[in-house]
């Protein structure tokens, strides 16, 4: 059960539960309004399973008009609304509130149009990320952002969180691949921001909505651009005798003008865990292991791989393997993708952090993490989207031991604070949600936060849409929880997390 402080429960709303349910049944098909506890249970949490809360009601609208009517109704009756896509988010962005109507968008699950001439796909928001690629791959196209949960996460959720992925260094995150959205505001206004054209008139509301974590509107339609699939994809697997060498190699590859499609580093602890778990054949004597992937035309990829080889050797690489086939390339990745479950074997629980740092600070930050690991007496393993500086330390602990959990949370907060201190960010791709809410004052001062809250109030004057998320309630930097995994069991154990 959540120990987080959430917005004050509105007892007037709680006491009117039946009335609200019956009003909502007047707006949408009554079977799409869920009110008894058994029906509500599946919605009590998202991918951040450490925190749970049953909503007051769940509604499952089927049309934009219904979304609009429900929001208008809730706005007029001062009922809080929490939007939810596939519920795979890792920062608790769609965790319900006790007195909220949870708006589950699951019925918006159709691709509306595939437009090859304008190279875009228009889709409903609860279509999965991967389904977009599946829909266009026979014509040689794909949708570039690839969050690791892409088989399950919804494109609407991707927009809300501005999701990234392994390939965001070269292809950008969701915001850079989005052409337009249709949004319903809390007062029921339906509007479109962007469309099939590049850029749009007036203020960039498309950019504002992307990554706003469901606080400004409910997304009912998404238009994304699709790209022609690269002809050739090749990867190199490189071992290094020290983290410093690996870090220098990353910096030099970038400085040389090669922009890889993906560039990943794992430390020795994680490499070993992964190897024991998945028999990936990684060099376990190396202090750091790197996977670099290039895509493009044959000559282009060859040129970059050659350059990478030279740079790696100059930086003391202890081993280097280049994929000879697509199967081999996927094998390089298979180990990396098993990194999280591998940690689940090493300890009863682990917390996955999501800080962002300047690439050049990798060694410094990892040394600090290692110092903190000794201080808190908890083991840690590190995965790193090295290309774009996104660090995922995995802190191992035992949730049944309260002291261990407390230490883990403090450890995690210390890491994120250090990320900010060296010029990075609290979250690279998981979002703030409830998880990092109270740490926001590490990154922003009161004026910064106030400006953002003023925007929120401009679009949602009663603060009814997803309140209690992103912005601190306590306004003091309390240490909160991270992605918590118990006994290797995540909410969706079959979704890869990396």
């Amino acid at each position: 059960m959540s120990t987080l402080q959430m917005p004050k429960v509105d007892n007037a709303v709680m006491s009117k539960k039946d009335r609200i349910a019956s009003d909502l049944r007047g707006i949408i098909n009554s079977k799409n309004v869920l009110s008894n506890p058994d029906e509500l249970r599946p919605f009590e949490t998202d991918g951040l399973t450490a925190y749970r809360q049953m909503p007051l009601l769940v509604v499952m609208p089927e049309t934009v008009e219904q979304v609009s009517q429900i929001l208008r109704y809730c706005n007029e009756n001062k009922v809080k609304v929490v939007p939810r896509g596939a519920g795979t988010g890792l920062s608790g962005g769609s965790m319900p509130l006790e007195d909220c109507v949870l708006m589950a968008m699951g019925k918006f699950n159709k691709i509306i149009e595939i437009d090859y001439e304008n190279r875009c796909v228009v889709t409903q928001p609860c279509v999965t990320n991967l389904a977009i690629t599946h829909a266009v791959q026979d014509k040689g196209f794909y949708y570039a952002p690839d969050p690791s949960s892409q088989i399950a996460c919804s494109i609407g959720g991707n927009v809300a969180e501005n999701s990234g992925g392994v390939h965001s260094l070269k292809y950008g995150a969701t915001t850079n691949n989005l052409l337009g959205i249709e949004v319903v505001l809390m007062d029921g206004t339906v509007t479109k921001f962007g469309g099939k054209a590049m850029d749009s008139e007036g203020y960039d509301f498309l950019g504002l909505m992307t990554g706003s974590e469901g606080l400004l509107g409910v997304i009912t339609e998404v238009t994304v651009k699709i790209l022609k699939s690269p002809e050739v994809v090749k990867a190199a697997l490189v071992g290094f005798p020290s983290i410093e060498d690996a870090g220098n190699c990353v910096a030099e590859i970038i400085a040389e003008g090669c922009i890889p499609a993906g560039m990943e580093i794992m430390d020795k602890a994680l490499t070993k865990a992964t190897n024991d778990y998945s028999k990936a054949g990684y060099p376990t004597d190396a202090e750091a292991m790197m996977i670099v992937e290039f895509d493009g035309t044959e000559h282009e990829v060859e040129a970059y791989i050659q350059k990478t080889k030279e740079i790696a050797e100059k930086n003391n690489s202890s081993s280097l393997k280049i994929s000879k086939s697509n199967e081999e390339r996927l094998k390089f990745w298979a180990g990396r993708k098993a990194a999280f479950p591998a940690c689940g074997v090493l300890a009863p629980d682990y917390m996955c952090m999501d800080g962002s740092i300047p690439r050049g600070k990798l060694a410094e930050v990892l040394n600090e993490i290692s110092r903190l690991s000794k201080k808190y007496n908890l083991p840690v393993a590190n995965a790193f989207h090295a290309g774009d500086g996104n660090l995922h330390p995995l802190i191992m602990f035992d949730a049944n031991d309260k002291e261990s959990l407390r230490k883990c949370e403090e450890f995690g907060a210390d890491i994120l604070k250090y990320c900010v201190k060296v010029g990075g960010a609290l979250t690279g791709e998981h979002g703030v949600g409830i998880e990092k809410r109270e740490l926001m004052c590490e990154a922003f001062n009161d004026k910064d936060i106030q400006q953002q809250l003023t925007i929120k109030v401009a679009l949602d004057p009663n603060s009814l849409l997803n309140p209690g998320k992103v912005y601190p309630i306590l306004r003091k930097c309390a240490e909160e929880g991270r992605v918590h995994v118990h006994g290797g069991k995540t909410k969706f154990p079959d979704i890869p997390r990396f």
């Binding site: 995150a173 915001t175 203020y203 035309t297 300047p358 990075g424 979250t427 703030v432």
Partner: protein
């Protein structure tokens, strides 16, 4: 002397002057606080390369940021540069050149259009206008390259968003919102911008072709191919002669497609592209790195519209609509060229009036695009809509404007009446 005047007299600033030229953030804060208190509307300027774009509006004072300049921090290996907003773009590009890096969004230089010579303006102006060059369809717009900013809101409070790292989803992405806001939301003070390595080489396939329909077809095929172009333009016959280069003697209409990257790869892709487009040798020329750069610079600089007397419109459309829109626009006296691989039309109109403008607005709306009046005769400027917008978005814009600038003292009315 009133209390207020006493306070003011203690500062280094003379609030009686009409043009403020601050050199520090503290001075800007002081100016804005004073204007906020006294309801004084401010016109915000950088190097004035684009200040003719936008509606005429009443302002009591001018805030000239041309002395608020300098590179704060440049980390080539971290792929970012942090600068003060008044820094000339030219200086930033010079600095990036030293490390063989670039601003990939190649912003337009409006100097040729308005004053007959280059004036690429300040970086604050570039971001405020969000006009990206030919690589738009490949690398995104200016806004896609802004990692973070610091600015002053309409109450004189210093605010920031984002940072210097590429991956950052902490809070609302205000860097996007301030890009293209024409100085109506904040006074930008610092900008952190993503930089990228320059491609090893750039070459351009030029197809001698005067036909619009064929050009659209070439561009569509090129952009949907795996040859990964980074530029695609069409110049009709009347502009062809502006591009006579060593390897391009053809002076008629032309379609040009740019390919960039490692030398081997560029040659391979050029070969493949000309095959995919079924081009005959006599139909095409290939521009080498140097000539290719000249060609795309002229495009980015809108040099064909140098000292233009006529009106100029910038129309953005889904590529599928471009052909139909141009055919409809041909009912008027226009000269145009197409950029962004078919999604951007630059069109000059010899004659423009409110009636024609509302007709164009209907056409563009019907085809799911929008336009901006870049250059317009003074008497028409007073009555014309410079930027398009629909009523719902206008209402939201009003609210957002107020959330940054509650007393409407920043460029009031520059984008829309009441904003």
């Amino acid at each position: 002397m009133s209390m207020e005047e006493k306070q003011n007299s203690q500062t280094s600033l003379d609030f009686n002057q009409n043009i403020y030229k601050p050199t520090s953030r503290e001075e800007i804060v002081e100016i804005v606080k004073n204007c906020y208190k006294k309801n004084i509307p401010l016109e915000i300027n950088g190097l004035k390369s684009k200040n003719k774009i936008g509606r005429n509006f009443q302002s009591e004072k001018t805030l000239d940021l041309s002395d608020f300049k300098g590179i704060i921090d440049y980390k080539p290996e971290e792929l970012y540069i942090k600068v003060k907003a008044g820094t000339p773009l030219r200086e930033i590009i010079k600095e990036l050149d030293k490390n063989n890096q670039q601003l990939a969004f190649e912003p337009n230089d409006f100097g040729y259009l308005f004053s007959g010579e280059s004036n690429s303006g300040s970086i604050g102006g570039v971001v405020s206008c969000n006009f990206a060059g030919s690589r738009r369809f490949k690398v995104g717009s200016v806004r896609d390259h802004i990692l973070g900013f610091q600015g002053i809101n309409g109450k004189g409070e210093t605010i920031k968003s984002g940072g210097t790292v590429v991956k950052n989803v902490t809070g609302y992405d205000l860097s996007k919102l301030i890009s293209g806001s024409f100085g109506t939301l904040t006074i930008l003070t610092e900008l952190s911008i993503k930089v990228l390595p320059k491609p090893e080489t750039s070459k351009t396939l030029v197809i001698k072709n005067p036909h619009l329909k064929k050009a659209i077809d070439f561009l569509g095929k090129a952009l949907s191919s795996s040859t990964d172009p980074t530029g695609g333009v069409f110049y009709p016959d009347y502009f062809g002669k502006n591009f006579i280069l060593n390897d391009l003697t053809h002076d008629g209409g032309l379609t040009a497609i740019r390919i960039e990257g490692p030398i081997n790869s560029v040659d391979q892709r050029l070969g493949r592209l000309s095959k995919e487009l079924s081009l005959l040798e006599q139909e095409l020329s290939i521009l080498d790195n140097e000539q290719s750069n000249i060609f795309w610079n002229r495009t980015k600089n809108l040099e064909i519209f140098k000292n233009l007397k006529a009106n100029l419109l910038r129309l953005v459309l889904p590529m599928s609509e471009t052909l139909q829109v141009i055919q409809k626009l041909k009912n008027y006296e226009i000269k145009y060229f197409i950029d962004w691989g078919g999604s951007l039309i630059w069109a000059s109109f010899d004659q423009l009036n409110t009636k024609i403008l509302s007709e164009i607005k209907e056409i563009v709306k019907k085809h799911q695009g929008y336009f901006t009046l870049i250059k317009v005769e003074e008497d028409l400027k007073a009555s014309a809509d410079i930027f398009t917008i629909d009523p719902i978005k206008y209402k939201i814009s009003e609210k957002i404007k107020r959330s940054f600038d509650p007393k409407r003292i920043f460029n009031p009315g520059k984008m829309y009446t009441g904003i």
